[in-house]
């Protein structure tokens, strides 16, 4: 009844594992490479704002222990296959039915680990839910198929597909949608805020360095979803004041690029 | 609607419960989630309508709208459905005592009460429609018609089952040994009744 080893299965476990290793190593290195490619416009690992910074840090706090757990558990899995591989003529192993103490231990251990993870999760969540004290710039973001409009209620201007903000300024966006659900997302500055028709959703962020940050609709919204991109331009306060004056004067040089999707294209 | 059960081969089921009865109760547990979702939708949208007619007397921007519900009328039809549960359980009790004629009478009475309820619902729907309430007129219209319509469809299916059992009875195939058929129909019927108890309170009475 026991299996006589098939000639085609003779290559050892070690060699099988060895052949898998380079693949995993390669993938692992690729993962590390992500952190280095800071010039990629939507890299969440290269934040340029306080919120995105918090999110990246939190992710790393979680990622490293999880990679550790992964290596240990996968290692044990492979190790058990190597150590306990059936040997020729081996007798039936001892029929262990379990070990309550061990099992309780590996129920409690992950529970404790997750409890620890829950703490930074909840504190960060609370930080993100409270807009920092001080001067806040309000922006009303509206998503529609397939463009974004940004209204500055206090400054009384509206722009399309480009949000201009001063650096180190807390910006509070209130999002809504007109037709279907969209999601406002600038990976280098903050997470997502869905723009739901009939509802409004709020999120704050800031940019710490001047620059142009690319953003994109993150909720599938129809045929032009993929082209529903926009930019956030962060500039120094004086540049921003100039830009604002141009806008309020209706200066055509102000750069509101029209990225609206045209079906005939 | 019989199936091969171990019991029919002279074997007991593992739990001692009849397969079909267990099936019916599982079905009813599942139905709780159906009606739960619909009632929940109704409650979520309660008071969110922006277009008249409204369910209860409402004042919006100084304008008074009188509610569309006719509580006395619905109370009567609720009472009719409630009493159909009594006739249903009497039918089963009669059949289990092998009093088949009484069972037939009570089955028919239950079906007729069910039809009366449906007629009342049809009348109500028509009235509401004439007052301008449709599936598309407001969220109240959407949730009201879909919830009560879904319930009404259940009543209609129940009436069909009862009439089928009545015909079975006429042909002498509804006996005390087969009272399970009637018992299962009864469970379904009472369930439809308790759902209406919930709807009557949460949809009609609570403002």
């Amino acid at each position: 009844m026991f299996h006589i080893k098939n000639s085609r299965t003779r290559f050892g476990v070690m060699s099988q594992v060895a052949r898998r290793l380079p693949l995993f190593l390669l993938l692992f290195l690729l993962l590390l490479a992500v952190g280095c490619e800071t010039d990629n416009p939507q890299n969440t690992f290269a934040p340029s704002g306080d919120v995105a910074d918090k999110l990246r840090d939190l992710y790393l706090i979680v990622m490293w222990p999880l990679i550790g757990i992964m290596v240990v558990v996968e290692g044990l899995l492979v190790l058990s296959l190597i150590i306990f591989r059936q040997k020729r003529g081996q007798a039936v192993p001892r029929q262990t039915h379990g070990n309550t103490r061990l099992e309780v231990a590996w129920t409690i251990a992950p529970a404790l680990f997750l409890f620890v993870l829950a703490i930074p999760t909840i504190t960060t969540l609370r930080d993100l839910a409270t807009v920092p004290d001080g001067d806040v710039m309000e922006i009303e973001v509206t998503g529609r198929q397939f463009s974004w409009s940004f209204r500055y209620p206090n400054e009384e201007i509206t722009t399309t597909n480009q949000l201009t903000i001063p650096i180190n300024q807390t910006v509070n966006v209130t999002t809504t949608g007109v037709d279907v659900i969209h999601s406002f997302w600038v990976p280098k500055l903050a997470g997502k805020a869905d723009a739901v028709p009939g509802r409004s959703n709020a999120m704050w962020f800031n940019a710490t360095e001047p620059g142009t940050y690319s953003g994109q609709c993150a909720e599938f919204c129809g045929v032009g979803h993929w082209e529903m991109t926009f930019t956030v331009v962060a500039m120094t306060q004086s540049d921003f004041d100039n830009w604002l004056r141009d806008q309020q004067a209706g200066n055509p040089n102000s750069n509101t690029s029209d990225l609206t999707w045209h079906p005939e294209e | 609607m019989q199936h091969v059960t171990p019991a029919e081969h002279g074997m007991e089921t593992s739990t001692g419960l009849d397969n079909r009865k267990l099936l019916m109760w599982l079905f009813l547990a599942s139905e709780c989630l159906f009606f739960g979702s619909l009632v929940a939708t109704y409650l979520l949208y309660k008071g969110r309508s922006t277009t008249p007619p409204f369910p209860h007397d409402t004042t919006i921007a100084g304008v008074e709208y009188s509610g569309i519900y006719d509580i006395p009328f619905t109370s009567v039809s609720s009472f009719v459905l409630l009493m159909s549960s009594l006739t249903m359980v009497l039918a089963l009790a009669a059949l289990q005592r092998d009093n088949r004629r009484a069972a037939q009478v009570w089955i028919l009475a239950t079906a007729l009460l069910g039809i009366t309820f449906l007629a009342g619902q049809a009348f109500e729907f028509t009235e509401f429609y004439h007052e301008g309430l449709t599936v598309s007129s407001s969220v109240f219209g959407s949730t009201f018609f879909v919830l009560t319509g879904f319930h009404g469809t259940h009543v209609a299916v129940g009436v069909l089952i009862l009439l089928s059992l009545f015909v079975m009875g006429l042909r002498g195939r509804l006996t005390s040994e087969r009272s399970l058929n009637l018992e299962l129909a009864g469970l379904y019927w009472h369930f439809v009744d308790v759902v209406w108890i919930v709807i009557f309170t949460f949809v009609y009475l609570i403002q």
């Binding site: - | 001692g16 009606f35 549960s85 009594l86 088949r100 009864g186």
Partner: protein
Amino acid sequence: MLYERRARVDAQRDTNAPPEDTHLAMHGESHPGYLEYVKIAVILGAITAVEVGVYYVEAIEDLLIPILIALSTVKFALVALWFMHLKFDNRIFSWLFVGGIMLAASVFLVAWTTLDILL
């Protein structure tokens, strides 16, 4: 014809033996008799009348919702326990039914809380 004769015999038998006795003789289960069912139905009808009644009493407007929920719960329980025989039947059935109701009630309570309509 056969059916009619059969029905006559049934009717005869029915008048000869009180229902409760026949019932107990035929079934080991302790289902209630006709009279008890009628009693339950009378209670159900009465509660419905009270429900409709309180609906029109303006003095207790604030208490209306809890009163109505309590009354309908009693009605629900009466039908489920007596007419659906849950009081007398296997506990598994009660667990299935109550489980379904509780699941539906709890998930939607939580869901609507997150939509800011309850809290």
